[in-house]
């Protein structure tokens, strides 16, 4: 099973990197972009034999306690069998 974890800055937090990318995209001609936010992406491969419920608990904890700083960031994740 693989967990796909996305960490992004909270909406209330300014993202100067996203802003710079947005500016660059507009400059090279991409139209119609309202906003760009940059985040982080993690792929976590879990040991075989772990159930989906166990994986949910484990990955949620990892995302909350380690991968995210709750002051500025939020997370979401999905689990897929492979």
């Amino acid at each position: 099973m693989t967990a796909y974890v996305y960490v992004s800055l909270k909406k209330s937090v300014l993202d100067p990197q996203g802003k710079t990318i947005h500016g660059a995209l507009s400059k090279i001609g991409y139209k119609g972009l309202h906003d760009v936010r940059q985040g982080k992406y993690f792929e976590i491969t879990l040991n075989g034999g772990i159930t989906k419920d166990e994986a949910n608990i484990e990955v949620e904890r990892i995302a909350r306690e380690v991968l995210t700083n709750p002051v500025i960031e939020e997370y979401r994740f999905s689990l897929e069998d492979n």
Partner: protein
């Protein structure tokens, strides 16, 4: 009165802090390896600057899980003096010993230069050798020094006079031009509610001898020595 300077893999201001404490402030000092719980009966702990664990994931995010930080949390809870400088400030925020977070500089550049910081509160163990309102010249060198916290936390910091340093102009004016990294309200350093834990982005150990271009940073270490003498 013994100081302990923590070394994480990737710390790089540990020797500068050690030098300043030993040769300038003339105090006993020892290094503390991050992988041990033993604080060796130190009376004050310095969490130095650098790039602990390569600053991978987030600055300070991995260092907070080092065994020594468990001891530092207990030490701080008992009123022990903890000074976090630059990466040390980031580690203290990640560890929950100080509120808020240090984000990427708003200009997206590493900034390394002398800055002016105003002492907003001299009633702390880290600033008692300064005057309130005194402007110190101390260098910064960081990519993530943009202090951020939510509004409620900011109100609390202001109400309790826990904003200890602010970036200012040479004559102490709080201006956007003097804010090198986009920090909320020009915040350069804050302390905890107990006033025994302080985090600051400027490097006082890099402003400790005339050869380094200034000696204002010594006041932080002198303050600590004075505070420990009173304990």
């Amino acid at each position: 009165m013994k100081f302990g300077v923590i070394i994480f893999p990737g710390s790089n201001c540990d020797h500068d802090a050690f030098w300043t404490i030993h040769h300038v402030a003339k105090q006993p000092v020892t290094f503390l390896w991050h992988d041990s719980h033993d604080l060796q009966n130190c009376d004050a702990i310095v969490v130095p600057g650098g790039f602990s664990f390569g600053d991978y994931l987030r600055t300070g995010a991995i260092a907070k899980f080092s065994p020594v930080m468990e001891s530092v949390r207990e030490f701080a809870a008992g009123g022990g003096l903890v000074l976090g400088i630059c990466n040390g400030f980031q580690i203290l925020c990640e560890s929950g010993l100080l509120p808020g977070a240090l984000m990427r500089n708003v200009g997206l550049k590493y900034v390394c230069k002398q800055v002016q910081v105003k002492v907003e509160n001299n009633q702390t163990p880290f600033t008692n050798a300064c005057r309130t309102g005194e402007v110190l010249t101390i260098p910064i060198g960081h990519m993530e020094g943009n202090y951020f916290c939510d509004e409620a936390t900011l109100e609390e910091l202001k109400r309790d006079n826990r904003i200890v340093f602010r970036y200012t102009s040479a004559n102490g004016e709080i201006t956007d031009e003097s804010n090198p990294n986009g920090s909320l309200e020009n915040i350069a350093g804050i302390c905890n509610a107990g006033r025994n834990v302080l985090g600051m982005m400027p490097h006082p150990e890099r402003a400790a001898e005339p050869e380094l271009g200034g000696v204002d940073g010594v006041k932080i270490f002198e303050s600590l020595v004075g505070a420990m003498a009173l304990k």
